[in-house]
């Protein structure tokens, strides 16, 4: 049982900086998910931890031990590969027993440990089969089993679900979370799928271009993304971004998007003040844009919880999801997506009035992409009660 610490770790492949000044503390028993688009350096970071690649700069610790030069086999880790990497010439049992037999574990202990792991993963009947006689899901479980029997201090998983079909992926997600609780071991999990990150992680590290963009609990990342990249990456469907001018009018401070404008809530005034008469990037998640006819519970009246003025927009496309509807809207030259009440009946081509829940607005410096937080938000605080309530985790 151990935590993991990356300290300023850098890995280069020729001129490519695959991992750049990567620092991250992973607590013991944490389920940390490294998420980011493909090519962002997630796998490289994981492989550096596994000892499959050499570190160019910086240090990695497992527990208190500096492991930069410790060979993979002595790091107390087990890894599940995207391809599962089962040994094709060995049976499931042999696959799972391989690591133990290399460590000269007594035969009967191997047997009990493999059988126990098989039991947990429900693959007992498969023990005598060869990998090619297994389905994708079964292989995935064997790969997990092979990692489990080793009783590692840290579990490393590199996109273990990406070769499964959608339904199995959802099931396995739950299974993995359960397994994490059951084993009580540190998990470091790599995925490009933010849904997996959001659903399984105790903490998420978002990576882009070899650099950690933000680390935090799923809610924190969702509510207070540190920059436009994280804001756009976390959450599904992705946040809408508008280029907006901060103006002061008779009704107070506004975000002006030429064809329409929205008022700035009071608690943001001080944060946005420095940007008066300048441009900002204004972010609004689709779930915080409502059909004016069907406001969410507790927000029935204008000005109650919605600090907004209605925006007229034309419906371009509607996507019916059952419990909700995605509307692709255009207002002037701005298109954006809204996630609205399923009772909405607007058809493509029709006009509709929507309101922006400005309490959930996001603002970013257009040059740096950094979030423009209020004083309160900049602190370590948990954020506003109200906001947290409205979190609607994507599934």
């Amino acid at each position: 049982m151990a935590g993991v610490r990356f300290k300023n770790v850098t890995k280069r492949y020729g001129k490519v900086l695959a991992v750049n000044g990567f620092s991250l503390d992973i607590a013991d028993k944490e389920f940390l998910v490294l998420v980011g688009p493909s090519g962002s350096g997630k796998s490289t970071a994981l492989r550096l931890l596994a000892g499959l690649e050499e570190i160019n700069e910086g240090n990695i610790y497992i527990g208190d031990r500096l492991i930069n030069n410790v060979p993979a086999k002595d790091r107390g880790i087990a890894m599940v590969f995207q391809s599962y990497a089962l040994y094709p010439h060995m049976t499931v049992f042999q696959n799972m027993a391989f690591g133990l037999s290399l460590r000269k574990t007594p035969k009967d202990e191997i047997k009990t440990r493999v059988e126990k792991a098989a039991d947990i993963l429900d693959i007992t009947e498969l023990l005598k089969r060869k990998p090619r006689q297994l389905s994708g899901g079964q292989r995935q479980r064997v790969a997990l089993g092979r990692a489990i029997v080793r009783k590692p201090d840290v579990f490393l998983l590199d996109e273990p679900l990406s070769n499964l079909d959608a339904k199995l992926r959802v099931q396995t997600r739950a299974g993995l979370s359960k397994l994490h609780q059951r084993l009580g071991t540190t998990f470091v999990y790599v995925t490009h799928d933010q849904v997996e990150a959001m659903t399984m992680a105790t903490r998420i590290a978002v990576m882009d271009q070899g650099i950690i963009q933000q680390v935090g609990k799923p809610q924190e990342l969702y509510n207070r993304p540190d920059n436009a990249f994280v804001a756009g990456f976390i959450g599904s469907p992705a946040m809408n971004f508008f280029e907006a001018s901060v103006t002061n009018g008779p009704q107070g401070m506004k975000l002006d998007m030429d064809t329409f404008s929205v008022p700035v809530p009071k608690d943001r005034l001080s944060a946005l003040n420095p940007f008066l008469k300048k441009k900002i990037t204004f972010g609004m998640r689709p779930e915080h844009i409502h059909n004016r006819e069907f406001l969410p519970p507790g927000c029935e009246a204008d000005g109650d919880c919605i600090t907004a003025s209605p925006v007229k927009a034309k419906v371009e496309v509607t996507e019916l999801m059952g419990n909700e509807i995605f509307l692709h809207l255009v207002a002037g030259d701005k298109s954006f997506l809204a996630r609205v009440d399923p009772r909405t009946s607007a058809k493509p081509g029709q006009d509709i009035e929507v309101v922006f829940n400005m309490d959930n607005m996001h603002a970013f410096d257009p040059e740096t992409g950094q979030a423009i937080h209020t004083q309160k938000e900049k602190g370590q605080g948990e954020g506003k009660e109200k906001v947290e309530k409205s979190i609607d985790l994507p599934s």
């Binding site: 002595d74 087990a78 391989f98 290399l102 092979r146």
Partner: protein
């Protein structure tokens, strides 16, 4: 139907006819039963040829596969992989005659006190060793120890040329096989705690074994029908005959068709099961 006819005319008929001739005397005029087979298994020259073939079978195959595997593994790790591989593969690509010229030069011998033009003897005498007539002598080099049967220096020298020529083939095929092994499973084994040698022993070797079998089968058949190299280098003299060269001699030098046929039958009998096994293995592989 044409295929059947083709097989009959070009395969079955010659085999049956060879079998028939092997029971007849030298010019196929008289039935002599198993006399030719008695010759094959009791005559000292024939026995020595059979034993030499066994030596080829074992030593040539093991060394060519072993070195091929070694080069395949090592060449994957060096910087100039293509160049390293080409160097090992070139012997395979050049004509046998060119190879024979090269190796006769390598093995060339001059009596002690004379200038050694042979590379090996030049090096050997350079460090004070006596020159060795590599293609002639029987005792182990630089000793008076003469091992029995096929374990003669000149046989080893010939096998070495064979290995030199065929290692490239083994390497190329095995290297392709190695490339086909996903790096993931090697890394999985590393994480699982296997060292370099254990990865090789317990993962690479078993996963590669079908490829090794294919290469080994090819080489075994090569070894069994080995002719060119022996013929050009020693012409089977000095007890280096193998079954194929002896067969050739019986046929063309001694005009004994019966014995030549008997030798051919024995050769066929040795090759056939290997072919059948490899065909079956091939089929089994295709099915899965």
């Amino acid at each position: 139907m044409p295929a059947f006819l083709f097989v009959t005319v070009f395969l079955i008929y010659p085999v049956i006819d060879t079998l028939r001739i092997s029971f007849f005397n030298r010019n196929s005029t008289e039935f002599i039963g198993l006399d030719n087979y008695e010759y094959v298994f009791t005559n000292s020259t024939a026995q020595s040829a059979l034993l030499n073939n066994v030596l080829w079978l074992v030593l040539f195959t093991v060394l060519a596969v072993g070195l091929g595997l070694l080069f395949a593994v090592l060449s994957g790790r060096v910087r100039y992989e293509a160049m390293a591989k080409a160097a090992v593969f070139i012997p395979m690509a050049i004509s046998f005659v060119a190879a024979a010229v090269i190796w006769r030069f390598m093995y060339a011998y001059a009596p002690e006190g004379f200038t050694q033009i042979g590379l090996i003897n030049a090096a050997g005498t350079g460090v004070g060793l006596e020159p060795i007539a590599w293609l002639v002598e029987h005792p182990l080099p630089y000793t008076d120890v003469t091992l029995p049967g096929p374990l003669h220096t000149n046989n080893f020298a010939l096998v070495a040329v064979g290995v030199w020529m065929w290692t490239g083939f083994a390497m190329v095929i095995l290297s392709a096989g190695l490339k086909g092994i996903s790096t993931d499973i090697l890394e999985a084994a590393r994480v699982d705690g296997a060292g370099e040698w254990q990865i090789f022993r317990r993962i690479i070797l078993p996963v590669l074994s079908p490829t090794i079998a294919v290469v080994a089968t090819t080489l075994v058949i090569q070894a069994l029908k080995k002719f060119d190299m022996v013929w050009v280098m020693t012409a089977g003299n000095f007890e280096t005959d193998v079954v194929a060269t002896l067969m050739f001699k019986q046929m063309f030098n001694f005009s004994d068709f019966g014995r030549a046929a008997a030798l051919a039958v024995v050769l066929l009998a040795a090759i056939l099961p290997i072919m059948l096994i490899s065909i079956r293995r091939f089929r089994a592989q295709e099915e899965t």
